[in-house]
């Protein structure tokens, strides 16, 4: 079965999407000439720069999160493909304000290699680059192999916190410290109900039986921990919460941020019903929710399914997470 979408030439989706995104930002971001990257138009002098990026097709991740108190720029790859070193390099040059750059992106072989090449090029130019890879997906590998974990919806909280730190802290070492603390405190897991597709091929990235779901499915349709029968929402929520809670682990008395993310085509009704259950579970364990966000943050095209993210907070992380922002994909009064 091929996907049905309203598009122009599918080879141009990324460039047309960037054009539409820049217009939707009403002047707060601009596209770099000839490069698939966007940067803030109001970058303060001397700030530690934050560059994010990755493959397109996961909107609003990443390029929807550029703005004050969030990222300074985003390098945009083609759909599900890491941006080339050239794009990362040009975007980095455009956001650099003389005080070093933090690279923040999901932990995938393609992103790691392309950002690393750019980072080597920038270091040749004498620019200080620090790399933070989001590795929140507990389904990808056991805790002993954190490096094998992918970055998923935790991207949002990471961008929010590191964006705040890179705005308020002037020393890149300090920004990096906050980023590493945040990265160590965040855990996610998702469940897929139906597949997404890449516009240019039109092909669904995986197949699931009519009554099957996949727990732990990755953000590009990578296999998860188990393929199982469709189950009641409460059972699925219990299973996901269990995987998260024992991973960090989270304890009674912890304060957390809770993110329930729509992978694309799931109804808000399903997510709110799951939210209800997750809140019950957290209350039972005496874990208090400092803030919650239920919405569409990291998508996999029209994939149906959702993910749950828990982040353990301290006063510093709370402060940066709660700073106001007004990016295209995430707004906080």
């Amino acid at each position: 079965m091929a996907a049905k979408k309203i598009l122009n030439d599918p080879r141009n989706v990324v460039s047309e999407m960037i054009e539409g995104l820049v217009l939707a930002n009403d002047g707060r971001v601009r596209k770099l000439d000839g490069v698939d990257a966007i940067v803030r138009t109001d970058l303060p002098a001397g700030k530690v720069a934050l560059l994010i990026g990755g493959g397109s097709g996961h909107e609003p991740v990443f390029h929807g999160f550029v703005g004050a108190n969030m990222a300074d720029g985003a390098a945009c790859g083609q759909v599900f493909a890491a941006p080339s070193p050239e794009i990362v390099y040009e975007a980095a040059k455009a956001v650099h304000r003389g005080n070093g750059i933090v690279f923040l992106y999901g932990n995938y072989a393609g992103d790691n290699m392309n950002f690393d090449i750019a980072s080597e090029m920038l270091e040749d130019d004498g620019i200080d680059v620090r790399t933070i890879r989001v590795r929140d997906d507990v389904a990808a590998a056991p805790p002993e192999r954190m490096d094998d974990r992918r970055g998923v919806a935790g991207d949002l909280y990471m961008i929010k916190i590191v964006g705040g730190a890179a705005t308020e802290l002037t020393d890149i070492d300090e920004v990096e410290r906050v980023a590493r603390k945040a990265e160590a405190a965040i855990r996610s897991i998702g469940v897929a109900v139906s597949p997404g597709s890449i516009p240019e091929t039109g092909k669904l990235t995986f197949e699931l039986g009519e009554d099957e779901i996949e727990v732990g499915m990755g953000a590009h349709g990578e296999a998860g921990v188990s393929r199982q029968k469709l189950a009641p929402a409460d059972d699925v929520a219990d299973q996901l919460a269990d995987a998260l809670l024992r991973d960090l682990p989270f304890h009674g008395g912890d304060e957390v941020a809770l993110l329930i993310n729509n992978l694309g085509a799931t109804t808000m009704m399903e997510m709110l019903i799951v939210n209800r259950r997750i809140r019950q579970i957290l209350a039972d364990r005496n874990i208090s929710v400092h803030r919650s966000d239920v919405g569409t943050y990291l998508t996999v095209q029209e994939m149906a399914g959702f993910s749950i993210t828990l982040m353990k907070l301290d006063a510093e992380l709370k402060h940066f997470l709660d700073l106001p922002c007004d990016s295209f994909g995430f707004k906080q009064p």
């Binding site: 083609q78 349709g221 990578e222």
Partner: protein, 211 residues
């Protein structure tokens, strides 16, 4: 059948390679759909379309320049893991051709071998992890071993080894790249990047045969 390829011939060969990869977009996509995210075909097509664009209407001064520019084009347009590793193969492999006016079987073997080493270093992977290295490493070794037999024979041996390596990826468990999390479920499927290596070397061999 020539045993030496000058800059123009290397450029013609790389254009043939590009057309062959592009013609196999769907096969590469399907391979990646099975164990990855389904974009390897379109990614390689983007990269090798850029190679074609770079090489047409351009008078290369050396084989090294052809391979380096090809690598730059792949690296800048492919994206994803493939952009980095295939770009690295050509860009870093080209250094093995420094100062040579023509490529012969020996220098081509050096090119493949150095490119393979650079890609392994870039990705932190080694043969056995179900990647393009599993086709490239045996291909480079075969090319070097058969260098005395001439360019075509060396490439033919390299191709046979690449295909053999590709087939072996079927039994492997992926431990890097997007297929990694499939674990045991990746068994039974070939690695898409390894298929790309086979196509590239196949086109080089066919070019050498008809030149």
């Amino acid at each position: 059948m020539k045993n030496e390829l000058n800059a123009q011939a290397v450029s013609a060969m790389m254009q043939a390679v590009s057309l062959h990869v592009i013609a196999n977009t769907d096969a590469l996509t399907d391979a990646d759909l099975a164990i990855g995210d389904g974009d390897h075909g379109i990614g390689m097509r983007r990269g090798f379309e850029a190679v074609l664009q770079q090489l047409s209407d351009w008078e290369p001064e050396s084989p090294e320049a052809v391979m380096k520019q090809s690598g730059m084009a792949i690296m800048s347009k492919t994206g994803g893991a493939a952009g980095a590793v295939f770009g690295t193969v050509f860009r870093s492999g080209s250094k093995a051709l420094a100062g040579v006016a023509t490529i012969d079987a020996a220098s081509l073997g050096d090119f493949l071998s150095d490119g393979c080493a650079a890609a392994a270093k870039r990705g932190g992977a080694a043969p056995g992890q179900k990647t393009m290295l599993d086709a490239l490493a045996p291909a480079a070794e075969a090319a070097r071993k058969h260098a005395p037999d001439g360019l075509y024979a060396a490439l033919d041996a390299a191709h046979a080894s690449a295909v053999n390596g590709l087939e072996k990826t079927r039994a492997m468990v992926a431990t890097t790249g997007k297929a990694r999390s499939l674990g045991e479920r990746s068994i039974g499927h070939i690695d898409p990047g390894a298929l790309s290596i086979c196509l590239i070397i196949e086109a080089m061999r066919d070019f050498a045969k008809t030149t």
